[in-house]
């Protein structure tokens, strides 16, 4: 609500759209439009879109602009293969749906192609199909070449889920596989969604803000310190011990009573802060375990057993009071092949299996995907296509930690 960098990032998620010009050119040339296996034989249009990227970009910009010198931007990337389009905020503010970003870009691109290459009325439908894909026969732009980070509203699990519907593959690629930034971007999107979902309100607002700060934004260097302590030889169990040690040292938890065996029950006067510490430990545990194996598949196991172990160590509830652990159980089923599903890179906060924890699991999954050295058949690059790569050109999305910290410092008038 207060940090301008976070507001900007949320706005950019709506405004920024990726265009695969090379894809449009290929689709037009071959008639392969509307998704896998669909080819319209006999339909073909040879246009040099990649070579003409600069003029196409100008035309798209002109079509999208609301007023001269507004915040519309169209950037040509990879020698014209891709465009990064920023739809002006005014255009989004004039409507109620975030889909304006993708729809107006797709429409602007169609107009630009038709105008520049003087496409006749009989071929205009092919241009539409190559840009929009099979839509409107499908809900989304199936096989299209324009993509937003956000899925269409019909694909959201419930109210306020839009920002949670970003697969971790995109997050890892946008942040160029920097695990800290991947976790930060994911945490910002997830916790911002909590406000939209009606979770981060009243008694629960502080819980989510603390979670964002400690898990997502590395407050007091907590995540980094715990990782560092266990970087060379640490196990997940060692990370649990480091987390508890730090929570005791910082006065977050304290002994309550000793049981006959000598076991000490711990208590806290600030459960939201304990949850924040535990969620920072969970991320550190993911980074140590998945980092040591350079593999993303360990995430659900970390979710379950970090929480089991931290609960047994303290007798206090684990992250999100049991919801992360439950999420881990489901995610383990759906990410370890026999029940189908997919690898962690396809998961998002909107996923049927991972939506239950309110913002505390997906940042860890994003970090794990960033740390993977290539152990999966479907790599993040394959899953994300060009979207993640193109959106990594937006500095605020690529390096959220830097921008959010700078904005926070500015609000506080310096550190």
């Amino acid at each position: 609500m207060q940090n301008p960098a976070i507001q900007k990032m949320v706005s950019y998620v709506k405004q920024c759209v990726s265009v695969n010009l090379e894809g449009v050119e290929k689709a037009l040339a071959t008639g392969a439009v509307g998704g896998k296996g669909c080819v319209i034989n006999g339909r073909s249009l040879k246009v040099d879109l990649v070579k003409s990227a600069a003029s196409i970009a100008d035309e798209v910009k002109k079509n999208l602009q609301v007023s001269a010198n507004d915040d519309t931007e169209v950037k040509v990337l990879k020698g014209g293969k891709h465009l990064l389009v920023k739809v002006p905020a005014k255009r989004l503010n004039a409507g109620v749906e975030y889909t304006t970003g993708a729809t107006s870009t797709a429409a602007a691109l169609c107009c630009a192609i038709v105008d520049q290459f003087k496409v006749n009325i009989w071929d205009a439908d092919l241009v539409h199909a190559s840009v929009w894909g099979r839509y409107p026969q499908t809900m989304e732009m199936l096989g299209g070449n324009v993509a937003s980070l956000l899925s269409v509203p019909q694909q959201n699990e419930g109210m306020g889920y839009a920002l949670r519907n970003v697969p971790c593959a995109h997050i890892a690629l946008i942040t160029k596989k920097n695990a800290m930034n991947a976790a930060a971007l994911s945490s910002i999107l997830e916790q911002a969604a909590m406000f939209e979902m009606g979770d981060a309100i009243g008694d629960f607002e502080r819980l989510h803000l603390m979670g964002l700060a400690y898990q997502g934004l590395n407050v007091n260097n907590l995540v980094y310190d715990i990782v560092k302590e266990n970087a060379k030889k640490g196990t997940l169990g060692d990370v649990v011990v480091s987390t508890v040690k730090r929570a005791i040292a910082d006065g977050i938890i304290k002994p309550l009573a000793k049981a006959p065996s000598g076991y000490v029950n711990y208590t806290t006067d600030d459960l939201s802060k304990w949850n924040a510490y535990a969620s920072a430990g969970l991320l550190a545990g993911t980074m140590v375990t998945c980092g040591a194996a350079r593999s993303m598949q360990h995430t659900p196991s970390v979710f379950i057993y970090f929480n089991d172990l931290v609960e047994r160590e303290t007798s206090l509830p684990g992250v999100d009071f049991g919801r992360v652990e439950g999420t881990g159980v489901e995610m383990a089923f759906f990410s370890h092949s026999i029940y189908g599903g997919g690898n962690p890179a396809v998961f998002a906060g909107n996923h049927i299996v991972t939506r239950h924890s309110k913002g505390f699991t997906i940042p860890c999954v994003a970090a794990a995907v960033a740390l993977d050295a290539g152990t999966t058949i479907y790599t993040p690059e394959k899953i994300s296509g060009t979207t993640g790569e193109v959106l990594s050109e937006v500095p605020e999305l690529r390096e959220p930690l830097k921008y959010v910290n700078e904005a926070a410092v500015a609000i506080k008038g310096g550190v």
């Binding site: 208590t267 806290t268 194996a293 598949q297 172990l309």
Partner: protein, 258 residues
């Protein structure tokens, strides 16, 4: 702070003490038998002993890694460095006083081994890791006191048997007959690998642990010996956690000092 020592598990019973002991990585697991490195490889069946490790990606040094402070900090395991495939060992543990219950396998595995992916299912517990890392872990899992040749099964597929009665030799049921009790030597021998593929020569995993000894070592609560309900401290711990999770879900700000 100075007084904090990792406590691992509550409880005053012998079972709780065993749980604590096995979960504590500073406790050295007692070695009860020797199985050669090559036999461990044969039992898992992922490669032939002596065969080079297959890789899923090039060695990290060759491929280079993206700029990331966490990658710079976190040391990859030897298997990850080399780009090994991720492989598994899967255990089935009988409900009759097995050394490790399924959950204990996960808790113990995560406190003792680095970079492992453990999952607990109703009748089996797979542990996955990079191949050369896995082989080291597997050796300790099979050679030490947390394994009993008769009541723990190394089973990659068709794992059933954990909840069935033991046979006349005290062996857990195995539909694929991977292991047999050798009456002459009193040892348990594997004639098939964990998937059920016949081995060229049988592999002995030693003599079953005696019943009274198993009851001493087990981490399983069971009515015939230490019933769960008799360990009041553990029961109250579970009740406390249940209460705290529920209260916190209602309003985290009201959970103070309890």
């Amino acid at each position: 702070m100075a007084t904090y020592k990792p406590q691992f598990y509550p409880g005053k019973s012998k079972v709780a003490a065993n749980r604590k002991k096995y979960m504590d990585p500073s406790y050295k697991l007692e070695k009860l038998r020797t199985v050669s490195d090559d036999d461990i490889v044969r039992l898992m069946g992922h490669r032939v002993p002596g065969e080079a490790y297959k890789s899923v990606h090039p060695p990290l040094e060759e491929m280079g890694e993206p700029a990331c402070p966490i990658r710079e900090l976190v040391e990859p395991t030897p298997g990850a460095k080399a780009g090994d495939r991720i492989r598994y060992i899967q255990m089935t543990d009988s409900v009759y006083f097995t050394p490790l219950t399924p959950y204990m396998r996960a808790w113990t595995g995560h406190t003792r081994y680095r970079g492992v992916d453990i999952g607990v299912l109703s009748g089996r517990v797979p542990l996955e890791a990079r191949e050369r890392d896995l082989e080291k872990v597997a050796k300790e899992l099979v050679e030490t006191e947390i394994f009993d040749p008769a009541r723990c099964g190394i089973r990659g597929a068709t794992v059933h048997g954990h909840s069935l009665r033991l046979d006349e030799n005290g062996m857990m049921f195995d539909a694929l007959r991977r292991f047999q009790f050798d009456k002459k030597t009193g040892e348990v021998v594997y004639v098939k690998d964990q998937i059920g593929v016949p081995l060229d020569k049988p592999i002995s995993v030693g003599k079953p642990i005696k019943e009274d000894e198993l009851r001493k070592r087990t981490s399983e609560y069971r009515v015939e010996d230490v019933a769960f309900r008799t360990d009041k401290e553990v029961v109250s711990f579970i009740e406390r956690l249940h209460m705290l999770r529920t209260e916190a879900g209602f309003d985290p700000n009201r959970v103070k000092g309890i």
